[in-house]
Amino acid sequence: MVTNDVLTELSKKALKDGIIGGVITLKRTAPDAAVHALITDPEMLEDVDSMIPYFPDNCANFIKRITKVAPPNKPILAILKPCEMRAVVELVKLVQIQNKNIIYATFDCYGTIARKDLKDKEIPKSQEFIKSASDGKFELREICKSCDYIRSETADFSYLTFEKDTPIIAQTETGKNFLEKLGVQFVESAPDEGLKSVMDMKLKAKTALYENLKSECSGTDNIFKTFAHCINCHNCMTNCPICICKECFFESDAMDFEGDVFLDLASRKGGLRAPTDVMLFHIGRMAHMATSCVACGACEEACPEDIIVGQIFKWISENVQSIFEYKSGRDWEEELPLKTFREEELEPK
């Protein structure tokens, strides 16, 4: 089984052997576009390269959709980026994904390219992309440049592209059984030399990003400037895997008032911006979901105004999660910070 995309080849075999009913992977729809697809016909995998550096949306949303009414009776293999796997874990904890008969595969992630940077160009093949990962040929999404979750430990198995000889590691019994059935060789403990050296770079980039955000985006004037172009379309929220409310509070009639109230609001400051409640929406959304944000940047990719909303949410949520020594999606067992509390903690000073 020597090919350039191990995960696609392995899915093809699993489909042919009837071990799984379908596979979820990225599939091209144009030279500069790809979508997540649930594929049942192995032929349709012929042109698939499951690890192309492209991020149309967070695939956890698709898995949520598929398992919403009832999870499938035949297993589906889902090939995910680590940030998508993180979102899956959060959504399982939030009782949004029924975690049955989905086999999760992830891979060490070298990052993805912003869709706006790919317009009318071609998404590179994963092999080509990985080969030039360190030579700066491809500009990554900002959120990927500084991503500190480039390997998932919660998936059933993972393809360790950072390591010498790129082994596959089985991380659960399900993963082990699946790989054994397929006759694919795997390891059970992960080398991490490759990971360490990539991580080193990422952490440096993250420190630089946060320093930059601190100087450019913090303070009243700066934060308003950051969102100056916002048209309050809520695309960021709609595409966020973590924003799960059936009716968003910021779209509810709690935002509606009599004309006189709008006049009063305007008269307090001499004027009122429309669409209204932009800052309320962004800070309010943070307060509602920062404990589970997985720093995937789906929000930023979806923003029609190129607002760095994903970078802001990543920065805020990492700080918020650290209050509770929590990191969203890194572990199946850790309790959601908003579902629990300790009797003695955080006393107001």
Partner: protein, 141 residues
């Protein structure tokens, strides 16, 4: 800032404790600054952070949330959850450079009229020193 700056404070007070303490302070004629616009809520746990943000974006210089002491919440854990939510909101304000000190959480039981007066006076003094909240002035909110 004018010398006689009087901060506007919105108070979200639990029906079972801080609201009673406020009434007691009033009926027993204890003196305290008149800066607080009190809003009665059923539990500190029912104060969504977005109410606090709304107040601070709509002209308030500070927000105080008053709830039952740990262990005394009528809904058992509302105040513990409030404490987490407010800690989260204050962290967001801190990172965004938006003066988290303007958000205050206090445990004030029904019998603590005196503590109510003390805390309101303390918070008002602090806000007087801090001056007008920038956030409350920005028309783009």
């Amino acid at each position: 800032m004018p010398d006689n700056f009087e901060p506007k404070i919105v108070g979200f007070f639990c029906n079972w404790c801080t609201s009673v303490a406020a009434d007691m302070a009033g009926t027993s004629r204890m003196e305290y600054p008149a800066n607080v616009r009190p809003i009665r809520v059923m539990c500190s746990g029912s104060v969504d952070p977005s109410y606090v943000i709304r107040a601070l974006l709509s002209g308030a210089d500070g927000v105080i949330i008053g709830g039952c002491h740990p262990g005394d919440c009528h809904y058992i854990s509302g105040n513990f959850k409030a404490r987490r939510r407010i800690a989260i909101l204050r962290k967001i304000f801190e990172i965004l450079g938006l003066e988290q000190e303007r958000i205050y959480l206090e445990w004030i039981s029904a019998s603590e009229g005196r503590k109510f007066v003390k805390k309101i006076t303390e918070f008002t003094e602090k806000l007087r020193k801090m001056g007008v909240a920038e956030l409350s002035q920005n028309w783009e909110s």
